[in-house]
Symmetry: C2
Subunit: 350 residues, 2 copies
């Protein structure tokens, strides 16, 4: 059972919810777009399902400040260090990308690195803002002090799922958007399977001896441990763990945010977010054509199975978003009811 909600209705509804919590209208609009991006593109683990589970409790407990502005601590022109002061991460990560893009236009590269941030939602949404300027956007965000995944060979979790994203224009096609946790999957995929009562494939969780665990409920019970991208040491676990550390270093050590391994409490407060934007047209001509040719060649590659054309990350998500913007966003009935319960606008419409 799904309900097809017109995209403008969905956006306005979610923006209203944020405005009711005291978020200024322009920020509420950005945050709503960032949150609905998950459902619009099909990355539903990072979409509206998190509104009542993750974001509204942040307001209720005072862990996010709806009106706080970014405080710039250091400004070197090409680079800015700022304190996000617990503003809604769904908004401040986009603000960081826009500021980095403005700096990149002048300096070729722009860096905005934030401490004191809150959960940013889909990293790819924010990174992709750079493509509207014809630029390349990168986001790295840790999970503050929250510890979720163990180092290879370690008994206790040390780092979060530490997402990174890179977005690049691809001509007329949807932009290339790599948006990934550095663990095999994000925790939302495992919890969604647990809620649905489904098994998960081997390679996502392992027990203390490294044997595959296919019961998703084992994760929250603490006897199924989330693996890094690469799975076992033989197939690249140290690369996945290393990428998790790359995100910890660029996203949180650089700005001085909370770090998973050294925080007293395992909680996703004081998240670090680094936005890096490259302005290729400031450095050379021909970039847009070369980018279009690169991603066109990927799409044009001969497939093993003629029914399954080759694609690049972001392409299917972009096509899906285009369709849903026009025809509506399908929400599971249960999620629609959750939204109705907190959203006055949708209550009035329903």
């Amino acid at each position: 059972m799904t309900v097809l909600v017109p995209y403008p209705t969905l956006l306005a509804t979610v923006a209203d919810v944020f405005r009711e919590r005291g978020v200024p209208p322009d920020r509420a609009a950005v945050a709503a777009e960032a949150l609905c991006h998950g459902d619009l593109t099909g990355m539903s683990t990072h979409g509206l399902v998190n509104l009542t589970r993750l974001y509204l409790p942040l307001f209720d407990s005072g862990r996010t400040d709806p009106t706080a502005g970014m405080e710039v601590l250091t400004d070197l022109g090409a680079s800015v260090l700022a304190d996000a002061r617990r503003a809604l991460g769904l908004w401040s990560a986009s603000q960081a990308v826009e500021l980095a893009a403005a700096r990149a236009a002048r300096h070729g590269v722009g860096l905005v690195t934030l401490r004191g941030a809150t959960h940013i939602g889909c990293a790819g949404y924010h990174a992709a803002r750079a493509t509207a300027h014809g630029m390349i956007g990168f986001i790295a965000s840790n999970c503050g002090g929250q510890r979720i995944a163990r180092p290879p060979g370690g008994r206790e979790p040390a780092l979060g799922t530490n997402p990174l994203a890179l977005a690049c224009p691809a001509g007329d096609r949807p932009p290339f958007v790599l948006d990934m946790s550095t663990t095999v999957v994000p925790t939302g995929r495992i919890r969604a399977a647990a809620r649905a009562g489904e098994e998960i494939p081997p390679g996502w969780l392992a027990d203390d001896d490294g044997a595959p665990v296919t019961d998703p409920a084992a994760f929250d019970r603490g006897d199924g441990h989330l693996l890094w991208l690469g799975g076992t040491p033989e197939t690249g676990a140290y690369k996945g763990f290393g990428l998790g550390l790359l995100v910890e270093v660029l996203g949180a050590l650089l700005p001085g945010a909370a770090l998973g391994p050294t925080s007293a409490v395992s909680r996703d407060d004081d998240i670090g977010v680094t936005a890096l934007v490259f302005a290729p047209h400031a450095l050379r001509s021909g970039f847009a054509d070369d980018a279009s040719a690169l991603f066109g060649a990927i799409l044009g590659a001969t497939p093993v199975d003629p029914r399954g054309p080759v694609s690049y990350p972001g392409q299917h998500e972009g096509e899906r978003a285009r369709w849903r913007r026009t025809h509506g966003v399908p929400l599971p009935a249960e999620l629609y009811e959750e939204l109705r319960a907190v959203a006055p606008a949708l209550r009035a419409a329903g």
Copy 2:
């Protein structure tokens, strides 16, 4: 059978070989250090084994120019676009990092992006130069027009093994150095197994139907296809492929170097190399202490097996390098003979 060669002898020998080919002495010293780094740290697939297989043929065929200097095409202060003009990549990648570090000291971030480069050896060697300045170094390098790995679902290779590296100071300990191909393993690991007549683990190569191939010779026969980090689509193949594209975008599309998917000939000419350096101390105080605490906490994590302490990428390699700098670098007898055949200094010593 191994021969223990004093590290200074090894460095001087290799530098002599490069000087004989016309490389100026200061560059030959850097290139020798970059090449010996593989054997010094134990990443031997990227070490001296490549001298006669990869680098000397580049001189013989004129595909590298021993004396060419980097030509700056655009200089925006924080960012520089340059043509490496086929200079030895073992040297020019380090030159790029040093220039980026100088720019980062002023601007907080420094970007040097090269087209026209040649094979850089261990990306991590170059990235780690930034740590000598107390900075964070990042390298992305594609393989020029060379196509090695297929997109998921594709019949033909489209990209190289596209390495990336990140290096960060870790206090008194060896720096954190993530140095990885974005495929499960680099091709050198597979060819080394083939030379040794050893099987490889499942998860490195797959046949046309996706079934694991454990005969390393299948790779050069063309019936074992190198997998991306993540292995299958269910366990993250699109992330590995996406990281390969991230390197193609940052390393080669940004500077306008050759691109795997669009090059007429699959050959590692006109390689793109991007060096990015972050200067944390220009942005904030306390970075060095926080970095030391972060990596100290990783090393101090409780291991599953008390005999196998937890480590971070670069730690074992750094410890090994420290030992070998003092006690000598073990080279397989066969490799030692290869080196003797091309190295006048070692011939005289032996």
